[in-house]
């Protein structure tokens, strides 16, 4: 039995503390009760001390001042890495277990808000890791003092590491919300995807000891962040917290509505706005758009941008059932023009919409086919980069402008894929996965093949993606209309109690 039980009443200090934790977050108390037994705590603390002993022994050969600096550096790396590894594993495993057990529905049905349940899980499930970290802290502080570190920098660096860790665990938690349909191994793989954040851990870990000697500086919106360690760490922490916030909004939606699309349209547009603003900061003000760093940066941004577009296209793709419901609802609106007009005028809503074109639901409604999502993301990108384009007006070789236009072709290709996916989902439900895999492979292969013929030819062929996207959208919309009509007939004909 956990020592946090309140079974004997609220007479002891521990029972009162348990009750206080439970009042604030019942999920946290539940996880702590499952995790924190006397035996498990002893094991965690002992493990932390053993690793500390090994660390102290391992660097004992260095000179006295250097010894402590090396030990501090390693200490920071080890605790963050161990926390990240064990924390992510425990969160993924816990979620999969709950999904398999079928207890997640109980949590969803409770009046507790999702964020509080998820927070309880993130704080409570890896509780033993936190216990080990607390056991580590005195040794860590001792090393910092003996190494002569500035305690302000020491604290800021560790707080930055904590923010990276929180982001890391938030990503794992968000990915774990898909674990109900996957197996444990797959959840681990998804968790490991977060390893892309690990270089940042090095960055944070190295800061206190190596200073901020970044060659050429670290410029963002004209400010060299490397001038001050605190500024750089603060900036990093804000970026991490923004990513964390996005992860939490996705995780809460996934938790609340597991059958809905993974991403809301609003979340997608926020993601693209945030990503573009972050990137724009590195290019404003720009001195040499064709410098070696800039060209590499352009390539990286374009690649990540395309990957994000593909990701959000998947994340906003409704299920076959949702598409059929959408088609049926659109059919209903076509049959009932009054209803359509009432919707346009915002009847029944608290606030009337001043402008509500018919394609508005295609941009905002999560159940609509995501034809407009890549285009909306492209528009967001263009709007955010427009000041930079204006500044490039006099440049002889506006590579960035050409690249921004090139993103339009990528958008057209992705829109085509999205429209074909919708068409396949409606028309070929049985072989859906096969055809989608075939389309993905054909798209990747054709993109690589185009690259072999040079940029001009690729660009020319790429332009054909624009009419292709329009044609495929027309086909997909036709299929939606057809399915909407037949679904309405099927639904109402088979339902004798319906009017």
């Amino acid at each position: 039995m956990s020592f946090l039980s309140t079974q004997g009443g609220l007479n002891t200090t521990v029972a009162r503390w348990s009750d206080a934790i439970g009042r604030w977050n019942p999920q946290l108390l539940r996880e702590l009760r499952g995790t924190l037994t006397v035996k498990s705590c002893v094991v965690a603390v002992s493990a932390a001390w053993v690793v500390q002993g090994l660390l102290a022994y391992g660097v004992s050969g260095s000179g006295s001042g250097q010894w402590h600096r090396d030990a501090l550096f390693l200490s920071r790396l080890i605790w963050v890495f161990l926390m990240a590894l064990s924390g992510s594993a425990s969160i993924a495993q816990n979620w999969v277990r709950e999904a398999k057990l079928g207890t997640l529905d109980f949590l969803r049905l409770s009046p507790e808000p999702p964020w509080r349940i998820l927070l309880g899980k993130m704080l409570g499930v890896p509780a033993l890791c936190y216990v080990a970290a607390i056991a580590w802290l005195p040794f860590h502080l001792y090393l910092a003092i003996r190494a002569g570190s500035d305690l302000g920098i020491w604290l800021a660096t560790d707080l930055f590491n904590v923010s990276v860790l929180v982001t890391f665990l938030s990503i794992v938690l968000t990915l774990s919300t898909w674990a109900g349909k996957l197996n444990l191994m797959w959840a681990y793989i998804l968790g490991d995807f977060s390893f892309i954040l690990w270089p940042l851990l090095f960055f944070g870990a190295a800061e206190a000891d190596e200073g901020t000697a970044i060659p050429g500086g670290f410029w963002w919106f004209g400010v060299d962040l490397s001038q001050s360690t605190m500024l750089l760490l603060g900036w990093g922490a804000v970026v991490m917290m923004t990513i964390t916030g996005f992860c939490w909004s996705v995780a809460c939606r996934r938790f609340n509505s597991p059958n809905a699309t993974p991403l809301l349209r609003r979340q997608v547009y926020q993601l693209f706005a945030g990503f573009n603003l972050l990137c724009l900061g590195f290019f404003l003000p720009i001195s040499d758009p064709l410098g070696p760093g800039a060209v590499g940066g352009w390539g990286a941004i374009a690649t990540i941008w395309t990957m994000l577009q593909a990701l959000v296209l998947w994340g906003t793709m409704p299920s076959r059932q949702q598409l059929m419901d959408w088609g049926r609802y659109q059919h209903f609106l076509r049959q009932n023009p009054q209803e359509r007009n009432a919707q346009k005028q915002g009847v029944g809503k608290q606030r009337k919409r001043p402008w509500n074109p018919s394609w508005n639901p295609l941009i905002w409604n999560s159940n609509s086919p995501p034809f407009m999502v890549p285009l909306a993301n492209l528009v967001i990108t263009w709007v955010i980069w427009s000041p930079w384009v204006v500044m490039q007006a006099g440049n002889d070789n506006p590579v960035g402008v050409v690249l921004l236009l090139g993103l339009g072709i990528t958008t057209a290709i992705l829109t085509t894929i999205g429209a074909i996916t919708v068409w396949i989902a409606i028309k070929m439900p049985r072989a859906q996965k096969f055809w989608l895999a075939a389309i993905a492979m054909a798209s990747v292969t054709s993109l690589f093949s185009l690259g072999l013929f040079g940029a001009s030819f690729a660009g020319l062929i790429g332009l054909s993606a624009i009419p292709a996207s329009l044609i495929s959208i027309a086909f997909a919309r036709g299929a939606l209309r057809q399915v909407g009509k037949s679904e309405s007939q099927l639904m109402f004909d088979s339902s004798p109690q319906s009017p």
Binding site: R23, P26, L29, T103, D105, Q321, M491
Partner: protein, 332 residues
């Protein structure tokens, strides 16, 4: 009987006094791709009833219950719990505290003790401090698990786990209890214990909906019954009404003498159907289509005629036979 009859019957037991029904299902359809699990179903359950939902596997009982809880969203139609529509996502959380839900597989956290398990769910529903502790003692006494409060959940028997799950669903004192196949896989003793607990909860004023295959359990517990088949509610009515309308009654009479007089009285009675006469044993077996008072009148008539009855019995179709009869009518 047809669907029209069923849909009109589904309103019989509901809202008779004009008050808001505890559960109102309005023309609900649930589709899973090409499969229609629930098809245009309407139903009302007044507060304080024990409503039994019966039907074969795949009839849509579990889907309907999951829609009542809010785990599944209807494709069409609406579910209203105590006047609150579950369509409105924000308000759904508002009624969450009023509902207790026990799924058929009653999953339990094995790493917690019985006490901690109930403590956790009580807190999820806003109970704290001494009130929570008192409530846990109450529900443990209700399900007769007080002696097991220190035990880890994985050490309990299936029947105990099931009772613990039931305790979990009522810890926050819901006004509506939804039990999906609660007695499946339990032995007769555990089933009997479970029935006792449900009766106690009903006496406390809780509205209860139970789906079950064990129809004899439902017959003992329920005040109203709904019969589902292929996503439709083919009948829904108070249990007594269902018996009156659909239960076939067979009278068994034996006389000391004057068998012909008895035969004449029976033939003249408007509620008597086909008769089978065994002259050797002076016994008559007859179909009867009347109410209890009609039966009493018949007995009085026989006695008044001076006929010496040595045996008078009335066999009535049980719930299972009614269910089979209605099911076969619906299929045909």
């Amino acid at each position: 009987m047809g669907v029209t009859q069923a849909s009109s019957m589904s309103m019989l037991g509901a809202g008779a006094n004009g008050s808001t029904p505890m559960v109102e299902v309005r023309e609900v359809t649930k589709r899973f791709d090409r499969h229609i699990a629930v098809d245009g179903l309407s139903l009302q359950i007044p507060a304080g009833e024990v409503y039994g939902l019966i039907g074969p596997n795949g009839a849509g009982k579990t889907t309907l219950i999951r829609m009542l809880v809010g785990v599944e969203q209807p494709t069409l139609g609406d579910v209203v719990i105590d006047g609150v529509s579950l369509k409105e996502g924000d308000r759904r959380k508002g009624v969450a505290g009023q509902i207790g839900f026990l799924p058929d597989d009653f999953p339990i956290y094995d790493d917690l003790t019985v006490w901690d398990y109930l403590d956790y769910f009580g807190r999820l529903y806003g109970l704290h401090g001494r009130r929570l502790i008192a409530r846990i003692y109450d529900v443990l006494a209700l399900v007769k698990l007080d002696h097991k409060r220190d035990a880890k959940a994985n050490t309990l028997s299936r029947g105990m786990k099931q009772r613990l799950s039931l305790a979990r669903t009522v810890t926050h004192e819901p006004t509506l209890l939804l039990l999906d196949e609660p007695v499946s896989g339990l032995d007769p003793i555990a089933r009997n214990e479970f029935r006792q607990i449900v009766r106690t909860l009903h006496e406390g004023g809780m509205t209860i909906l139970i789906s079950s295959h064990v129809l004899s359990d439902l017959a003992e517990l329920c005040t109203c019954v709904g019969i589902m088949e292929t996503g439709h509610l083919i009948a829904s009515a108070p249990l007594s009404e269902l018996y009156d309308q659909f239960a076939r009654q067979t009278l068994h009479l034996q006389v000391l003498d004057r068998l012909d007089d008895l035969q004449k009285i029976l033939a003249d009675n408007e509620h008597i159907g086909v008769m089978d006469i065994n002259r050797g044993q002076r016994r008559v077996t007859a179909e009867f289509h009347g109410s209890e008072s009609d039966r009493a009148t018949l007995v009085q008539t026989i006695i008044a005629a001076g006929i010496s009855l040595t045996d008078f019995r009335c066999d009535r179709d049980d719930l299972e036979q009614i269910f089979l009869k209605l099911g076969s009518q619906q299929t045909s």
